[in-house]
């Protein structure tokens, strides 16, 4: 179960889990993503940072199929996933959270998580209509698994609350629980610490480390909070204006001239 930092599981040869090559995305004349390359090995925890509007979320949307790439290719577990429908990509093992939380607001917390089991529920429409033993067995099992997830995230007490009624921090955790329930190999987190207080951020960092070990996950993380990024990521890729301007370990990134320039603004770099 324990997964040594970097590469340690049976699957982690040198074959990357995610391999993005020469990815481009244009919105009209705007180059939101420009010749973007990224390779992630199984088990890694990688950070993606950059100033506002750099194109980070767009990269997530390209990986998960919300947008089709203008050009370039994305390989997941050795297979090209560019151009697939988002639900097909999720079913292959990529789950995500959203920058502005996207729960199913008028459904209960439990149902929010159970929806992630739908494509591996183990029963179909006719089983549901006929209420056969298979339905009862599978429904019970997926409900219990969903409840176990909620317990891990300390959400079991609010399982019957509507998601919209939860406080912000709990909504974030529901979203992560829901993403994990789809049983991903690769988890994409888009600014999970946004809007959290320092105490909540500490909890979140603990949580990310924990789920990564527990579920044997590879994680790609977008974050503006440098404490989080520098604290938990092993590798960091920095974007600006759709392009990768630097990559390396947290230490290397902290001292990178171009990164400082991008964050503090052009022309002021020498001052900083």
């Amino acid at each position: 179960m324990a997964n040594p930092i970097g590469n340690g599981t049976a699957t982690s040869t040198d074959r990357p889990i995610l391999d993005i090559q020469k990815l481009n995305k244009f919105f009209g004349g705007l180059r939101a993503v420009n010749d973007f390359n990224l390779t992630i090995k199984p088990g890694e925890l990688v950070g993606l940072i950059g100033p506002n509007g750099a194109g980070k979320t767009t990269v997530f949307n390209l990986i998960t199929g919300i947008y089709a790439p203008s050009s370039g290719d994305i390989h997941f577990l050795g297979q090209s996933i560019a151009g697939l429908e988002p639900f097909e990509i999720t079913q292959r093992g990529i789950a995500r959270t959203f920058q502005n939380i996207r729960l199913f607001p008028n459904l209960t917390v439990l149902d929010n998580v159970r929806i992630a089991y739908h494509f591996h529920a183990g029963y179909g429409l006719f089983d549901a209509i006929l209420r056969n033993p298979r339905f009862y067995a599978q429904e019970k099992e997926l409900t219990e698994r969903a409840q176990d997830f909620l317990a891990i995230f300390k959400l079991d007490r609010v399982q019957n609350e509507l998601a919209v009624n939860l406080p912000y921090g709990e909504q974030r955790r529901v979203e992560i629980a829901r993403a994990l329930a789809s049983n991903p190999r690769l988890l994409l987190l888009d600014e999970p610490a946004a809007g959290m207080n320092p105490n909540e951020i500490l909890n979140l960092m603990e949580l990310i480390r924990f789920i990564r070990e527990r579920f044997n996950l590879t994680i790609l993380l977008i974050e503006h909070q440098m404490r989080v990024v520098m604290g938990i990521c092993e590798w960091i890729t920095v974007m600006d204006f759709g392009e990768v301007i630097a990559r390396g370990t947290p230490k290397e990134i902290q001292n990178n001239e171009r990164v400082i320039e991008a964050y503090l603004g052009r022309g002021t770099a020498h001052v900083a």
């Binding site: 639900f87 199913f104 607001p105």
Partner: protein, 461 residues
Amino acid sequence: MELGFLLGSVVKIVAVLGWLYGLLQVMAHASRWVKIAGIVIAFGIIQIAFSLRIGNQAILNDFDAGLLFQACTMAMVALGLNLIYGFNGQFSLGQWGFYGLGAYAAAYVTYKWFNDRTSSALFVLLIGVVLAGLVILGLRRFLGRYYNLPVLSAFTLYLIGSAAAAAVAVFAGNGIASIVDPLFGTKEAPGLLSSDVALQVVFLLAVICAGIFAAEVSFLFGLPVLSLGSDYFGIATLGFSIVINTLMVNSDTILPFPEMKGGRGMIGIPKLTTWFWVFAFLLLVIVIMRNVIHSSVGRAILSVREDETAAKAMGIDVAGNKLLAFVIGSLFAGLGGGIYAHYIGFLSPGTFSFLAGFNPLIVVVFGGLGSMTGTLAASFGWMFFLEGLLRVLLGQLGTEAPTWRFVLYPIALLLLMLLRPQGLLGKTEWGFLRAPQVKPRPPANPTSDARPAASIAPAAR
């Protein structure tokens, strides 16, 4: 008389809603035998009320029976619409079109059987829906393996497949009919097929086939429209209803069905709908609806309404689930249509005009989007209050006065939208329709698994 009538009507509305409540409660009972007994009793109460007399008045007279039957078919249609609009979030004006489609399809089968003494329509429809169903299900499974087939190409395949199924059905159906039809016998010596039992079986088959027929048409219509973005779905469904209505008006000229008599209306449909069949089909629709909603499939349908992008990110085939809700909803409408046709015995295109198509929409909104109980209650309330009580009361004021109903409906709807936008019953569900309560899991035994979980302190509120 006025006061007595008023009182009687109010008592009837309350009694019918009470009956509905009781039925749903007993259907939720844990014991199977109590459940069955309760359903039989619920059926029996109404059946007895039809024949039991107080003085020289039946407790439920023919007028009430008409209201009740129409309330039940309205409930079937409106439940289907609620699945599409209330649960899946797709605004549709097509429900009335599928209702009409089911009504005409079923009526044509029994009409031919009863009046023309031929089984051709039955066999054509039966073989047609079975073959088309196999083609659609088969293609869906086959195409599922080739992900990137464009929707319109897939649609073309489905269309060709269904057309082929229809052609085979016409050929084979007429062939079988020519072999079987002698069994009708002659007027003097009626054969096997002229028996009442045969007629009942044909009626049952006709209604079921009509429902499936409506569902298959909705699949072919919904596939391109729902997959190519749903912004125009409402408009497209309105167009569908208008097309169906136009075909009804011209059924004897541009369609080869002289028996339907176009705009003059189809007469001579055997009145085979009894309380038993109304009750049985309403029950069937309620059970299917509830079993779908309270399952993983239902949650997928709901997630599409809640947030399409998030649903996709959770592995939900959004287009596929929209199509599924649409097809099931149309199935209910088609079944309702078949039941209605054999109750009323006369089908006129006017009944299925697009204006009347707003009725189920009003019922669904009144009862509450996403509330099955609300839809059921609103269907009964609609018939007994607005069509029953109000119509008679207004009738006292003059022969044309009942037309004011059509002014009162929209005003009532407006008031509801202002005062109670979630519908009369909101999210309340009664008995059988309630979501199964999931109890919190008992805390896991303290194994090694529990340790890391405990180390994560809950985030401060």
